[in-house]
């Protein structure tokens, strides 16, 4: 016979079980380092690296949590954990745009003591700059990415054209080639959907025109200034309204890449990661016919790539920062970065590896990536970068998706929004 008491107790027990599940069980074993990573293209990567670390550093163990693939979604997950001062994070992967935010929020531990001046020289300057906030280093660079121009070597050769050095040159070449080729061939492909990738594509144009997002000391937003306006107008009229299919307004990396890989475009702006894919005959119809070059500039400007990539940081709430540091040092060691380069084909953050014979033998194109990385630029550096990026995403997409958009007014509105955010952050 079921008694009243047992029923009530059962109900309460069920409730407690539900409530308890939210708290999770923290496996706070002293030798376990918790690594929270984003989902790499090749998902086994983090476990393989962790295994090697465990072999080299007994009795330390690595507990791995893999978040979403998208940087934005992974940011949501990681910042939730850190906001709650979760003990489930010791070491985490950090996108190159996060250190100001993570440092300002007090989530990332300063690493300057272990990243002294002589160690800093080891890394590509832009990557180190990305890891630094207000004179302190908050992360060690792991591997990098930057925007590059992929072009159809065969098509340029067939038309007797050189690799374009400037954006207007690229547009006129694209027009010349598409006019004489089968219909359906697009001139240009890139990432222009309203998301973070749009900011990278647009900033590369703004920088190439001599513009900036923020003025000196990050004080004032300069998106309404003539060089930035010129770049946005070019994107609207010459790229989106000209040689690129309108569909690019909804493209992220995979869509833009597949258009080019299917032989549907003359030029493609994408990250380093596209090179091995474009040259794999299984995945690309244009394998062996692709060239890689720095992004074009404007006649009176300089080529500039947007820096992407990942850094490794330590949580300020870690109960074992010393052990966490061992993992950070291992992940960013020369040996680990060499194997990352050799096995995964990603571009290391250590400069020396670009002269490494084994790496160059496996990936001859790395020699061409170093100068591009040396000219790569970081996106605006502020603790409110995610909010600044949202403003820019909305502005850029509005500006380029309507042919009759009132650019100066839109830019002024966006600049005011950014200025307001900078004011909130104290104009750092």
């Amino acid at each position: 016979m079921v008694t009243l008491r047992s029923i009530v107790l059962l109900g309460l027990a069920a409730l407690l079980a539900v409530a308890g599940a939210g708290c999770g069980q923290t496996d706070d074993a002293p030798d376990t380092i918790r690594l929270v990573a984003w989902k790499f293209n090749n998902p086994g990567l983090w476990r393989r690296l962790a295994n090697r670390f465990e072999q080299a550093h007994p009795p330390l163990k690595v507990a791995l949590e893999i978040g979403p693939h998208s940087s934005t979604a992974y940011h949501d997950l990681l910042s939730q954990k850190l906001k709650n001062r979760s003990s489930e994070v010791d070491v985490f992967l950090m996108d190159v745009v996060w250190p100001p935010e993570f440092a300002s929020a007090g989530w990332a531990l300063p690493l300057d003591q272990v990243m002294g001046p002589e160690r800093q020289k080891i890394f590509i300057p832009a990557a180190l700059q990305a890891a630094t906030w207000q004179g302190q280093v908050y992360a060690a660079p792991l591997y990098l990415n930057a925007g590059v121009l992929y072009y159809r070597r065969d098509l340029l050769e067939a038309h007797g054209l050189p690799v374009p050095q400037t954006w207007p040159q690229l547009v006129s070449q694209a027009k010349q080639i598409t006019a004489r080729q089968k219909s359906g061939l697009a001139g240009y492909s890139g990432q222009f959907k309203q998301y973070e990738g749009l900011v990278c594509n647009m900033l590369e144009l703004v920088w190439a025109a001599g513009g900036h997002v923020l003025g000196p000391q990050g004080k004032r937003c300069l998106l309404g200034e003539p060089p930035a306006l010129k770049a946005v107008r070019f994107a609207r009229d010459a790229l989106i309204g000209g040689v690129a299919p309108r569909g690019v307004l909804a493209y992220q990396e995979p869509e833009s890449l597949s258009l080019f890989a299917q032989g549907g475009a003359v030029f493609l702006r994408n990250w380093f990661y596209a090179w091995p894919i474009l040259n794999d005959p299984q995945r690309s119809k244009v394998a062996g016919q692709v060239g890689l070059a720095p992004l074009p500039r404007f006649p009176d400007g300089q080529s500039a790539s947007c820096l992407g990539g990942w850094l490794v940081g330590i949580s300020a709430y870690s109960s074992k920062p010393d052990k966490a540091l061992e993992l950070v040092n291992f992940l960013t060691s020369e040996a680990a970065q060499r194997s990352l380069a050799l096995e995964e084909g990603v571009a290391p953050a250590r400069r020396a590896l670009y002269q490494d014979p084994a790496v160059l033998k496996a990936h001859p194109h790395f020699a061409r990536l170093l100068p591009i990385l040396n000219q790569a630029r970081t996106r605006p550096r502020t603790p409110l970068y995610p909010a600044v990026s949202q403003v820019m995403q909305g502005y850029f997409h509005r500006a380029i998706s309507k042919t009759d958009s009132d650019l100066p007014a839109l830019a002024e509105g966006a600049a005011q929004d950014v200025d307001r955010l900078l004011g909130l952050a104290g104009g750092n």
Binding site: G11, L15, V18, Q80, Q194, V248, A387, G394, G413, L424
Partner: protein, 301 residues
């Protein structure tokens, strides 16, 4: 009737069974709502702990009302709710009327109609993204065939993108409205229809004067459910457009999500969700006053 009054033990049992449930509802439904409201009265910026978490009263709401993006999001949300709800209940009613007839394979058709509703929204949204792709999408191929030059980038144009998100929602949830209306139709005794037919009423007359009044309560329920659900649209937008192009599909829920989780404005983001909550509540109350009380009781004449 005194004999039917519950004995003390039974009353205790009732409370014993209810309490855990009540506690759970308070902990997981009421408290988050109250807490969101409390948060919305503070300025909380995750990446700027130096600012503290000052109480700012209704400042977040004032900012929300003055922000052009927020106002545009509210307008987009209302368009989405109105259009998708009307289409879903309308289409759902047509589907229900068809399914109410007996024909060979009716069971199969009923199950098939429910398939879109059963597919997880994230999967369905991804599927629509492929269908609407400008180069390889099915829709362009169906509309334009080999005229590759005429292919449209549906998700890249503000008007079409909103239409696409609404279309995906209608495709997905009309079956749910149909299910509710069908349940209402099945409670109508067959004899009524047969008697009306014998009296010489044509199909339209029978629908207008017999079926429609009797199925109105079910229609009202479908309308309420769909409206409240439409206000909460999120996953479709998240997968299909991320709020773009040019913020054309940036519904309030997604706007608030971005403010809160991507940008770390906890107070402001909470104000957005409280606004959505208030809107849903207001709409539900209006429904209840206008149609609900009379119809839900079932004396719809």
């Amino acid at each position: 009737m005194a004999g039917l009054a519950p004995r003390r033990g039974e009353r205790l049992l009732a409370w014993g069974l209810l309490l855990p449930c009540l506690a759970a509802v308070c902990a997981f439904a009421f408290w988050p709502i109250v807490y969101s409201f409390v948060l919305s009265l503070h300025r909380i910026v995750l990446s700027l702990p130096g600012l503290g978490e000052p109480f700012v009263g209704l400042e977040n709401y004032a900012q929300l009302l003055g922000e052009p993006t927020a106002r545009a999001s509210a307008a987009t949300t209302l368009i989405f709710v109105a259009v998708s709800t009307l289409l879903e209940v309308g289409l759902g009613t047509l589907m229900a009327l068809a399914l109410d007839k007996s024909f060979r394979g009716r069971g199969l058709v009923r199950a098939a109609v429910l398939v879109p509703w059963a597919i997880p929204t994230v999967v369905a949204s991804q599927m629509w993204r492929f269908i609407l792709n400008d180069r390889y999408g099915l829709l362009n191929w169906l509309v334009f065939g080999d005229q590759v030059g005429a292919y449209r980038a549906w998700l890249a144009e503000p008007g079409w993108a909103l239409a696409a998100v609404i279309g995906a929602d209608v495709w997905k949830t009309s079956a749910f409205a149909a299910l509710i209306v069908l349940a209402g139709l099945q409670t109508i005794p067959r004899e009524l229809n047969e008697a009306a037919a014998l009296d010489g009423a044509g199909p339209w007359q029978r629908f207008r004067h017999l079926t429609l009044p009797l199925v109105l309560p079910a229609l009202a329920v479908a309308l309420v459910f769909r409206t409240m659900d439409a206000f909460r649209v999120f996953d479709l937008v998240f997968v299909m457009t991320q709020g773009g192009p040019a913020d054309a599909t940036n519904v309030l829920q997604f706007y608030g999500y971005k403010k809160m989780f991507a940008e770390g404005f906890l107070g402001y983001g909470s104000a957005v969700s409280v606004m959505v909550f208030v809107m849903v509540l207001a709409v539900s109350l209006i429904y209840l006053r206008l149609v609900g009380r009379r119809l839900l009781r079932g004396d719809a004449r």
